[in-house]
């Protein structure tokens, strides 16, 4: 018994913070006037601060969309940069309200941590980056290689599984922060840098000579990345879930940041429901009926958010692939608003 009590006592501060934060998150958020989002410590395209400290990226836009849906103002969001290790504790303890931080949806995380995944805002998979000079063209040629990655992520486990399954020895060098992984890989400590493929494209921009490096074709895992909320607050869960769905539905219905005002006069009932002109869908989740209108006005639909942050015209240059709408060859799909 003493063994069980000791760590519990140590976690007392955590436990007390939880008490304060549980309950109706939406009411707390409305009362304090902003959404507190947990983001990465700097991953271009997903959540990255510029030199003036303004955050941007796919995950940041999700947070802005939530702020716009709740307050009608995308700037009513604050950001907490978190390491992979800190992220779940920060959410559990109530330090943040929602965690859009390129986090892979797995069963353990969904079930034992007291958390709920809202949906998927980026379908990713783990890949490998190597120096072109190595002359490697497939991940199966990486036997005996030194591999740099982040600690405390699913990537460490996937590498272990992949190399074991293919009976290849390897050496894993796992760092706490992404910046140090990049530095170590850049300095030649490792032959391979592995993380989610989107992350590889993003981190490659930080290398001394990005063009000397290439991402291998193999994708060795499923990494559905999505925002996370605390379990046990269904209202807040709904707000987050339908913010994401509204962005995807907007793309499907052709509603964009630019034409959202014009679309108000659309005859399409689905558009009318989305923009709050028919029915009272916003009120059902504790918001105003123009919630989706506000969020589209603020950040645009999912396709726009994707293109602005990680799409082909950005330095990351990622094509839609799996993340295209279901009607356009991808698997991005949202339940209808009705």
């Amino acid at each position: 018994m003493t063994i069980k009590l000791l760590p519990l006592a140590l976690g007392a501060a955590l436990g007390m913070a939880v008490t304060a934060a549980s309950g109706a998150t939406l009411d707390d958020v409305k009362a304090k006037g902003f959404v507190q989002c947990g983001v990465s410590q700097g991953l271009p395209g997903f959540s990255n601060p510029d030199s003036a400290g303004n955050w941007s990226g796919l995950d940041v836009d999700f947070c802005k969309a939530m702020a716009a849906a709740i307050f009608g103002d995308p700037s009513a969001a604050k950001y907490t940069p978190l390491s992979a290790k800190e992220r779940f504790t920060a959410l559990q303890s109530g330090e943040i309200d929602v965690l859009p931080r390129n986090t892979t949806w797995t069963m353990t995380r969904d079930t034992t941590l007291g958390l709920n995944f809202v949906g998927v805002n980026y379908y990713d998979g783990q890949g490998f980056m190597v120096r072109k000079a190595l002359g490697v063209s497939s991940a199966l040629e990486l036997s005996g290689a030194s591999i740099c990655t982040n600690t405390g992520t699913t990537t460490e486990l996937n590498v272990a599984d992949y190399f074991r399954a293919n009976n290849m020895p390897y050496e894993i060098v796992a760092f706490e922060k992404s910046d140090e992984v990049v530095q170590a890989y850049d300095s030649g400590r490792c032959d391979v840098y592995t993380t989610d493929a989107s992350g590889l494209y993003a981190q490659r921009l930080k290398l001394t000579n990005p063009d000397d490096h290439m991402v291998l074709p193999e994708i060795i895992s499923k990494e559905p990345l999505g925002p996370v909320v605390r379990q046990g607050d269904d209202q807040w869960f709904n707000v987050a879930k339908w913010t994401l769905f509204a962005m995807i539905n907007a793309e499907e219905l052709g509603v964009t940041k630019a034409n959202v005002e014009d679309m108000k006069s659309s005859d399409n009932p689905a558009v009318k429901r989305l923009l709050g002109l028919e029915g009272s869908y916003g009120e059902a989740i504790g918001l105003s009926n123009d919630w989706a209108l506000n969020l589209i006005k603020a950040v645009g639909n999912y396709g726009e958010v994707f293109d602005n942050n990680v799409g082909p015209d950005t330095p990351l240059g990622i094509s839609r692939g799996l993340n295209a709408l279901w009607s356009k060859g991808g698997i991005m799909y949202a339940p209808p608003i009705r």
């Binding site: 063994i3 069980k4 009590l5 000791l6 760590p7 519990l8 006592a9 140590l10 976690g11 007392a12 955590l14 436990g15 007390m16 939880v18 008490t19 549980s22 992979a84 290790k85 779940f88 504790t89 559990q92 353990t108 995380r109 034992t112 941590l113 007291g114 990486l142 036997s143 005996g144 290689a145 030194s146 740099c148 600690t151 405390g152 992520t153 460490e156 486990l157 590498v159 272990a160 599984d161 190399f163 074991r164 020895p169 390897y170 050496e171 894993i172 060098v173 796992a174 760092f175 706490e176 922060k177 140090e180 530095q183 170590a184 300095s187 030649g188 400590r189 032959d191 379990q231 046990g232």
Partner: protein, 396 residues
């Protein structure tokens, strides 16, 4: 009569029990204990209730689950299929390895620099002074990064390794050297070594007793060295030469086989020992200066040369001043080793962090961390206190 008067004056003044200082002190102590117990119980039950309501799993059952991740440096057998408990053990042993080697190196460097600062040679004294002032004033984390990132960039890739005698290779994946493989029958060598060490200790004790009793000296050092080298060599040949040597070979991306010191380990040990040595040097200098100059003069008057004076007269007395602050430095070094996580050395904090992230058992892991560092520190502290007592001035 006088006796009676005295005893009546000694009796406590009759008054309310509330004014009795003894009753009051007991009462207040009980109140304090009760408050602490209630607060502690409240914290624990509150945490447990919160965890349960949030449906966060708790307890230490997760230690039995398969870890599934690889670790770059393991002192005991570990594979991806080992459990979390095993992974944490690997982390603990890595922490202890860095701590023990770091403490030994820091002590040696610290003593050399500390004595150097008092040298009558101007250059040595100034060099030691520069060492102390530069290294103790740069934050440790920066020094770790320096040794890891700056030095790593200067070292060649595996295919262009710096090679010594075709058996030692230095590259940006680490330092590789030959490794002894102990075959069947090597137990005899181990036993011979243990016997030699035990024999040397007995010989040393005997030699000291005899010198104290008769004044005759017996140089036990050389005989001990002969025993410690000789006996295992004899055992080696007697048991049919069971030891073979494995050399590292470049295969594919990296060297395979042999003994590998990873850059993470080398950088961490260097940074920790060089940084801590700068503090130890100052402690040693202070200890030596604390010994009255009269002692040195007296030793000189007895005909002792400077070397033996330092070794037999000054240092033993200085040790009494040196040991207590030295203990603090040893504890600091052990605790600072947790900065390893910044450069991917798999110590307890790094491995524990991975386990924490995969299982989400934050409270349990942090509990284990605190318990382990507390235990390591208390053990170090207990050992140094014992040593301190041994070195204390014995009045004869």
């Amino acid at each position: 009569m006088a006796v009676q008067e005295h005893s009546s004056a000694d009796e406590p003044p009759r008054g309310s029990i509330l004014n009795d200082p003894r009753v009051r002190s007991v009462f207040y102590q009980l109140v304090v204990v009760a408050i602490i117990v209630i607060l502690g119980w409240e914290i624990v039950s509150n945490t447990m209730a919160n965890l349960k309501r949030q449906e966060i799993a708790s307890g230490f059952g997760f230690l039995e689950n398969t870890a599934g991740f690889g670790i770059i440096q393991t002192l005991v057998h570990y594979t991806e299929t080992s459990n979390y408990g095993r992974a944490l053990l690997v982390g603990l042993l890595n922490t202890m390895l860095v701590a023990v080697i770091g403490v030994a190196m820091a002590t040696i460097i610290g003593f050399i620099v500390g004595v150097g600062r008092l040298s009558s040679n101007w250059i040595i004294a100034k060099l030691a002074y520069l060492y102390v002032e530069i290294l103790r004033n740069i934050p440790l984390l920066l020094q770790i990064f320096f040794w890891y990132f700056a030095v790593l960039r200067a070292v060649p890739s595996p295919r262009n390794s710096v090679t010594f005698l075709d058996s030692i290779f230095i590259n940006n994946r680490g330092i590789y050297g030959p490794k002894a493989l102990f075959g069947e029958g090597s137990v005899a060598i181990g036993i011979a070594l243990l016997l030699a060490v035990a024999g040397s200790i007995v010989l040393h004790v005997w030699a000291r007793k005899r010198q104290e009793a008769t004044g005759q000296r017996f140089r036990s050092g050389l005989s001990a060295l002969g025993m410690i080298i000789g006996l295992p060599v004899v055992a080696y040949f007697a048991s049919g030469m069971p030891v073979s040597v494995e050399y590292p070979v470049l295969r594919g991306f990296n060297f395979v086989g042999g003994l590998q010191l990873t850059p993470e380990f080398v950088a961490l040990v260097l940074a920790l020992s060089i940084y801590t040595a700068s503090f130890i040097a100052e402690i040693v200098r202070a200890g030596i200066l604390a010994v009255s100059h009269g002692q040195t003069e007296a030793a000189g008057a007895l005909g002792l040369r400077p070397g033996p004076t330092l070794r037999l007269v000054v240092i033993p007395q200085a040790m009494r001043v040196i040991i207590p602050p030295l203990t603090s430095q040893y504890l600091n070094l052990t605790k600072n080793s947790s900065l390893a996580v910044a450069i991917a050395y798999p110590d307890l904090v790094s491995v524990g962090g991975t386990v924490l992230n995969q299982t989400g058992q934050a409270i349990e892991i942090i509990g284990i961390w605190m318990f382990v560092y507390l235990s390591l520190s208390l053990i170090t502290s207990a050992f140094m206190n014992w040593y301190n007592q041994r070195m204390a001035l014995v009045e004869r």
